[in-house]
Amino acid sequence: MSEVLAPAPASVPYSISGSTPRKAAKIALIGNPNSGKSSLFNHLTGLNQKVGNFPGVTVDKKTGVSQLTPNLKAQVIDLPGTYSLYPKSLDEKVIIDLLHDKKSSSYPDVLIITADASNLKRNLLLFTQLADLKIPAVLALNMMDVAEKHGIKIDVAELQQALGVPVIPVNARTGSGLAALKILLSQELEVSETTFFPIPENLLVMVRQIRYYFELSNDYLAWHYAHQYHKLSFLSEDDKAYIGELVKKYDFHSNAQQASETVDRYTRINGLLLDAMRVTKAENNEQFSNKLDQILTHKIFGYLIFFGVLFMMFQAIFAWAAYPMDLIDQGVATINAWVHTQADGPLIDLLTDGVLAGLGGVLIFIPQIALLFAFIAVLEETGYMARVTFLMDKIMRKFGLNGKSVVPLISGVACAVPAIMATRTIDSWKDRMITIFVTPLMSCSARLPIYTVMIALVVPETYFLGFLSLQGLVLMGLYLIGFLAAIFSAALLKWVLKTKERSYFIMEFPTYKMPRWKNVGLTIVEKVKAFVFQAGKVILAISVILWVLSSYGPGNAMQQAEERATSELTSLHLNDADAEAHIAGQKLEASYAGQFGKFIEPAIRPLGYDWKVGIALLTSFAAREVFVGTISTIYSVGDSENISTVKEKLMAEKDEFGQPFFTPARAFSLLIFYVFAMQCMSTVAVVYRETKGWKWPILQMLYMTGLAYASAFVVFRLFS
């Protein structure tokens, strides 16, 4: 490469030795939470972002490509925000797995360490640890403007001198300083000569043994091996045993050593900041934030405002999202119909009713996900999410949940899919898993059609005191049962779930800030992409399977059913729509889905269901509202859009003794079943994607189906 590099601008008082341009490098972004790391990542990569997986953890691996100079690109990886190199959560563990393993494919050539200038002391703790690892690094000093407002003056040249790496003031909000940062990154950087924490003399022998055994480049890395060998997933059992023995032999106590290391580092940082930082206004300057907090975390107004925000959010995903969702629905239907006019045949059916319908089932969630994450991103960006946790922590903790669990739980009333994606904001692994586990128990909007039909069927339209509808009360009761099941399941899981990780609340309480709209936009894009490409394929696969099951039957059973149904038509005197429905119903009975319904009938008979309901249980796994459609097909309802038509048909349905099939006992049993059952492949897919594995979705399905089965059984016995 023969590019001419611009000389370092005047604002970069750092001379780069041997400014040879490098090949596309791997850059890792690392820094404290709230230090502007994500904004910087967004500025560096724009839309060139990709979300992947770190092995074994639930945290997303965000990578992107940054154009450093017109002909030099670099790969940038965004690491989870952390306060130190000693991970306190499973998510932070990916950092040491990456930085402590030189053979890792993502091992960075350069680190961009972000620091909040208005909170420099604490941010430098992580910096000094990273500097001691001797990886070439740049310090991106963010929020200088905020620091200045707080009366903090930082002498960048002095700081650079003390730290031994280039320090670039940047403004992640406006993007200023970014050009200088990019130019610097396009050149060879050297490691800091300064060692901030010397390994204690008495342990140096042990550290050196580890260092030479693993051929590590410096003592501090070996020191970390001694501290965290049991957490490093790339070490073999033999390696771990080797370090374990050394640690025992030299009487090395990780906790005590870590504590004194942190204290030593702070002492060192305090010393170097004496020269590099001047604080003119001594008192805390977060007056604006404090004033706002007096209202937003107020005993009464705080909760009122919070419930107002929740209500708005709920409205957005429940009501506003309905318009674009209808458009997507109609769009897919139009394309489907158009394809059918062009060609015909089993392959075309697979394409339209299988693949296209499945695709529609994926796309339909986009409006809800986009809207919910627009809200969540703004709440996070402004700092309000920290207040939500602050307000709700005491109540939610009793049930093993986190203050932040409120947002997913309430969103779950609209739809569990975006709600489960929203659990990403919960830091503690255990709290997050519990929230994911119980969120689908909240009655979502897809259950509403089933509730409406079943209630209309068996609950009389009576009113108490002239305005309290009995049907309305039953509906409310169902929502309440779902909610209670969610919180009590959470409390149960709190006891069952064992974790080594301790859950802390200790966190920075950020000051209020204006949201950065670019970040909000990119969050929406990222979440939609993650859903469509990762959960989407599972949804698509299941919906194709379900389609095959309900459109094909063993041998020529389907064809025979169609012929039989057609011949029956003459004696039945039906209108066109009902005639079509009659044929469809007969065909469905003959299909694999019909076989399945009959196959599971013995299992669902104790709940009061027959094979027809069995079919609906299978097909409604695509989405709960499909239940009504399937029931309409089986009972040959021509106009399934009209609830009263469906109701009439269902009421006319007789069991083998000539009595009405849908007794209150059967209807309530079905209602309770649908309150609890995990009848939703999209939820399964999104739990798979959020937990990065099949263990949780399967456990969840077993639990919810078990709960549904047992409760439906009890309800059926009680009412009949």
Binding site: A256, A259, T262, S289, T297, Y303, F390, K394, E508, F509
Partner: protein, 90 residues
């Protein structure tokens, strides 16, 4: 520097006499003396709760728990039982 109070007997006695961040009133300040929970102390130290630093109780949540404190010129939020492990100098 002694960070943990090792002897259990001593710890119990100290806890009765010694004030912790939990006992501060809103706006009241204190100086950190030591941290009593070895594992949690690692997190607190990283967050800047170093013995010798000044802390101020900034606010309480409406239900009394969690609280926010000001330490190292920034606001930190934590639960009461976490705050109770930060002992103050008399």
């Amino acid at each position: 520097m002694q960070l943990f109070i090792k002897s259990l007997n001593k710890k119990r006695k100290v806890q009765q006499e010694q004030k912790s961040v939990r006992d501060l009133k809103i706006g009241e300040k204190g100086v950190i003396c030591c941290l009593t929970d070895p594992e949690m102390s690692l997190k607190l130290l990283e967050m800047g709760c170093i013995p010798g630093e000044e802390v101020k109780l900034n606010s309480r949540a409406p239900l009394g728990d969690p609280i926010t404190i000001i330490v190292n010129d920034y606001t930190l939020s934590l639960r009461l039982d976490e705050a109770a492990t930060i002992k103050l100098k008399a």
